[in-house]
Point group: C2
Chain length 491, copies 2
């Protein structure tokens, strides 16, 4: 068909053209079809969006496509259906429950990165994986394809760790990275920001230093001081994974099948060949039972081995928060206290878990060093300061980490002993307070499991940038679902 061009003076990020929905139907052009646009001697590809808002006979072009075919507003282009990529047939095959061959999975991933697939098609693939038996063989192909379609960090024999998430406060990474790097091993750690949790490691590190560095900068930092603590989001590591995550987040889908590929692709891309995966288990985490945890653990190791990586797992207690602060700034205070004091101050559970994980990694690579000694000797803290300096300097003292000014402390109504702390209300309160968007907001848990509590003791202090949000968060905190107590009398 021929269509009159209306140019939209913006970039869509993808080559998108919008045509009238009835024009589309009459010319057998469907949403997501790839079309070829011809104007004089030039031609270009675009993905079709159909809309009843576009007048018939018109085509709306975003800047990328307008420039590619060098056309001006009001001129007429020839629109032809172009052949759909084969990857669409493979997605359909997946939706029909079949297992895909390596080249079929690769085609899907390559086309995802090249923007040849629409969000709907990526969603169909994701749901197809979720609803079918996704084999280890397919997971391997998916992971390899995701790694090979992105950038890589050129560090050899690197170590890495990853937590599959779900536990508030669990900010072990800066401590582990400092210990491992101090022991002389390379750990080019890239972390994500929070998506649905109150804080990610990148959010927390950003409170105290600059986390945005290029691949070349990361390589040079790791070369000089063995480790880094950077944001991985803009590095184009396994970018197909980002596309899949972007699409499935809209449904809050988080299929464990895709988790394997997603995690190991990012690790593979940073050159890690010894990886420790923390699998928190417990109510409100991603893995609620032992059976599921064991299966995931086996799958991680199996996929790792298929990819030539040595993957270890730690099924940890995820039933309650780790550390006392929840929210980027409050978590930064926690780990800075542990590092600075050599483990003598700061939350004990955070210290112990970090040491345990660092030891698992050190043992695995045959180090004769002991994580506890590295932490206690102050070498871990010295290493952390070196990393900080390379990343552009920043806050080194826990007490210098600023917290939001609107604060309120919820106090105990009667005496007792803390039996448990529930993740879900903790997450809710932190988010209501403004996390992870507001880095200085969050909450502080004054009491931890086993602590005795007297009537009137501080239980939770909530911090927020906004009095209104503080009020809402405190309301949630006062519902008293965070702590469960046992009577002191019954002991």
């Amino acid at each position: 068909m021929e269509a009159k061009v209306k140019t939209l003076d913006v970039k869509a990020g993808k080559p998108v053209a919008i045509i009238n929905d009835r024009d589309a139907a009459e010319h057998s052009i469907f949403l997501g079809d790839r079309i070829c646009l011809k104007y004089g001697e030039t031609e270009g590809m675009a993905i079709v969006d159909t809309s009843r808002g576009v007048p018939r006979g018109n085509i709306y072009l975003f800047k990328e496509t307008k420039e590619e075919i060098n056309v001006e507003e009001g001129e007429v282009v020839e629109v032809e259906s172009s052949i759909k990529p084969d990857s669409i047939d493979y997605i359909k095959k997946k939706v029909e429950g079949e297992e895909l061959a390596e080249e079929e999975t690769r085609a899907i991933v390559e086309d995802a990165v090249d923007f040849k697939l629409t969000d709907s098609e990526l969603m169909a693939y994701t749901v197809g994986i979720e609803m079918s038996d996704f084999s280890m063989e397919e997971a391997k192909h998916l992971t390899k394809a995701m790694v090979n379609t992105g950038e890589k960090i050129d560090v050899e024999e690197a170590l890495d760790k990853h937590c599959i998430g779900g536990v508030p406060g669990n900010r072990t990474t800066p401590i582990i990275v400092s210990i491992i790097a101090a022991a002389g091993y390379k750990i080019p750690k890239t972390s994500s920001r929070a998506i649905t949790s109150p804080a990610g490691t990148a959010d927390t590190m950003e409170v105290i230093t600059d986390v945005k560095h290029s691949l070349e900068e990361i390589e040079s930092i790791v070369d000089e001081v063995n480790g880094c603590l950077c944001w991985g989001g803009a590095l184009n590591l396994a970018p197909a994974d980002d596309e899949f995550i972007r699409v499935r987040d809209s449904l809050n889908l988080d299929p464990l099948e895709q988790l394997l590929s997603s995690v190991l692709a990012k690790k593979k891309a940073v050159g890690a060949n010894t990886v420790l995966i923390d699998i928190p288990m417990g109510d409100g985490t991603k893995v609620e039972g032992q059976e599921e945890a064991s299966k995931l653990s086996r799958n991680f190791k199996e996929l790792g081995s298929e990819l030539g990586m040595n993957v270890m797992t730690l099924v940890s207690d995820g039933s309650s928060p780790i550390g006392k602060g929840i929210g980027p700034a409050l978590e930064a205070r926690d780990f800075l206290e542990v590092l600075k004091s050599g483990g003598k101050e700061g939350p004990e559970d955070l210290r112990n878990k970090s040491v345990k994980m660092a030891d698992l990694l050190l043992d695995e690579v045959g180090s004769k060093e002991n994580a506890e000694e590295i932490l206690e000797s102050g070498r871990a803290y010295d290493k952390f300061k070196e990393i900080l300096d390379k990343q552009g300097g920043g806050i080194k003292e826990p007490e210098n980490v600023e917290l939001a000014e609107n604060r309120h402390t919820v106090k105990a109504e009667k005496r007792g002993r803390v039996k448990g702390i529930n993740n879900e209300p903790v997450n809710k309160i932190a988010k209501a307070a403004g996390c992870s968007k507001e880095k200085r907001s969050g909450l502080y848990l004054h009491k931890k499991e086993g602590d005795p509590v007297e009537e009137g003791d501080d239980l939770i202090t909530v911090y927020s940038e906004s009095p209104k949000r503080l009020e809402k968060a405190v309301e949630l905190a006062e519902e008293r679902k965070v702590y469960s107590f046992k009577s002191l009398l019954s002991e």
Copy 2:
């Protein structure tokens, strides 16, 4: 977050806003999120598209949203995440393999019609239906919700027919409608255009008359002459179905589970309570075996009964084309010949199948009339002309239907007898010639099953508007996969 407005001077057909992908990630706003835009005293809802092409801190608004919140280019709006509709949770539930309750399915359908769901979310629902056990109960809820969210045609006790498709040339509808209307029954027939086939009934009828009429016009035509032959595409009958079809067409998905709801929703919306479903069975059709055909037939009847409709089915021979012409104009010639001659001329199989189907409908409603008599007496042809006049007049003589000027006839290489005609190459040739877009293009099958063939006899004449397309279509026709022959000697 606050964002600077850039206005796009076009309508998107949906309230869409585009923001930078990293801004989105940092503010926990995801693709497809519904956001609330505040500008002074006004506010409005939009669905988020994320793009790396939008500069950080900017928001691109399409015309609908710009006008709703009354904002100008360069001004700053406050962007807040608004609560996701509950229907997203129900889609997720479907993807997790669960059965949905009536109100859950209804919420999905209502939000689909109100554009509160993104294409990806609609795709996830479709794939969820395809990959799970979709119960009859759920199909009923889906159908009812689709009918209730659209327009309806106010005709009581109407009859209707539908073919699930897959057989080239199968243009029984104009003949059946003429017979039923002549017998005194109401048949407000709305048809679709071709999507993947060489011609739909609406395409064929459009060759000879105007098929675009409003609901009110259709009601008045049916009131006066009992029947009509119109295009249903723009009538907003069960519009949610159109949304689902639009999304799933991009993957060429056609789940039989959704077919049931899709077909019966359109029938229910035109007030039909006696419906005949033609289920062609055979290689290359949607239903390849008896078991599948029987199951589909049972399901159609069961769903019909749940909806208070009397649904009959006819499992017909779909192994080869019906009629001799393929393509809108050529099919129009075929059915006009049958109608005008009272069944004495034109393709016999087309005549016989139409009469059989009309009889099934007439018997079901207790008519004492006989379809063959109505056709032979010329009453069907007279009724057809009445309908034509009401729809705006048009071509009445088969020989006045124009065909494309570029033609080529493929001839027989040796004598024999036609054993079979294959649907797939017939469809391919017709589409290569320009169908359904070019209404005068297509092909004519000179011989049908059982016909004797002498060396040099005409087999296939191909018609096309373009010499280039003709050449390509003739090439396909000369591959000789259309006909299979048996030797005359073996008889």
